[in-house]
Symmetry: C2
Subunit: 248 residues, 2 copies
Amino acid sequence: MSARADKTTAAEAAADAQIDTPREAHQRKDSYDPGKFERPSVTVDVVILTVRERRLEVMLIRRRHWPFEGMWAIPGGFIAPNESLEDSARRELREETSVSDVYLEQLYTFGDPVRDPRTRVITVVYYALLRADQLHLRAGDDAADAQWFPAYEHPSLAFDHDQILDYTRQRLRSKLEYTTIGFQLLAPAFTLSELQEVYEAILNRPLDKRNFRKKVLSTGILEQIPETRKAGQHRPAALYRFNPRADK
Amino acid sequence: MSARADKTTAAEAAADAQIDTPREAHQRKDSYDPGKFERPSVTVDVVILTVRERRLEVMLIRRRHWPFEGMWAIPGGFIAPNESLEDSARRELREETSVSDVYLEQLYTFGDPVRDPRTRVITVVYYALLRADQLHLRAGDDAADAQWFPAYEHPSLAFDHDQILDYTRQRLRSKLEYTTIGFQLLAPAFTLSELQEVYEAILNRPLDKRNFRKKVLSTGILEQIPETRKAGQHRPAALYRFNPRADK
DNA sequence: TGAATAGTGTCTTTCAGACAATATGCC
DNA sequence: GGCATATTGTCTGAAAGACACTATTCA
């Protein structure tokens, strides 16, 4: 058999591994043995992030069973048969936080054969950015199982979740520089100082106030609104809103 | 049951869907019904790219069966039980091209429930960059089933593969700007004109020769080697090699 | 009037991009 | 000498980064 003879596409091979239907039985290729390919378990994990008190924070779940019992982990769950990967992530997020109107992006798929000591599990990881005004929904919860942790200073996590969180932070930092992703972490109206705090929390370093303002204002994606924010015994700050239709 | 009560991690849920082992049976959670979660098929597709004759080209496979019979598609296949996603992609690549020493990167995971009309197939897509000096291996093959096409001008593809290829081109263009990914498409020794051709092929637009040279030479990642490349009746070009240990 | 944060401008350096003439080897 | 590609530098505008003082509100 030449190497050419078993050329195929993944989709073609996939169908071969299915139980035959009358329609497909006659054209199943013999070069694939369905039994040879066990289907792995597939899950969707969601790294849920927010910025609170000038810190990037991540929501973690405490594991109650072997393996890694008692350790903290990134929440996740199965993909339902008829939902897309993103729908699945959105559902998982809703189950954890009761919110659904959030920024959500696929991060990476982790599939090391021994990443889970029990069985082969491939996980498609998403990350979600919760706005400051979406946080009260779960505040005061009996936070025994789920808890916010500083994303740059958290307990060692179960499975390969340390690696996953590290990768999430990297992606977020890099996207911050060339997208408007930072606005996803703020309420619709915000001050420039609040925006700067979000950037500093994600980048994990201080930024120069003048340079920061110069830069974001020069992009033209911010619109000042009439109201101001009064907070404490000092000058109130101007409020801005994100203007998504500012094609630069 | 409170929302908190069914908090879990994907890994935890995954194990619940397995057939019980004596060890795990006693701690299986009842909140998950293994039968509820059919395991999807998972494949790995590999977008195999190269630059030939100043053009970015992609290797495609002609489908021989329903659905999309006769259409061209991105090669792919199943994940073997004990190989990682990347190993699987590397194996697929070797089956198609007989080469294994290539740049390979995970692109994205596509999992729309109806992307394959037959059954639920989730595909983890990688892309591979073949160097010019790795191409002869399959040249002259009886190219009935596999064939190189211009990546910016190709036939309409099966499944969601047009979308996958489009996304690959985007990723490649963007990575070209902030990584050394371009060098992966050239033989160990190359001229600056050849390097520029790779960049132009990927970006699909001409670049200014002086600015291009100024820029790549200023990074310090190129080392000139003594030999020159003679090609035709004109001045021979200096040869360079990529110096990966040039920390900038 | 003191406390606390809001708000503002200049200078320097670096980088990107537009732009065209000379150099060299081979036939 | 003619051909074909290799090789080279200047100018300009934009953007990034270093750096410190004044403005405003409220208690």
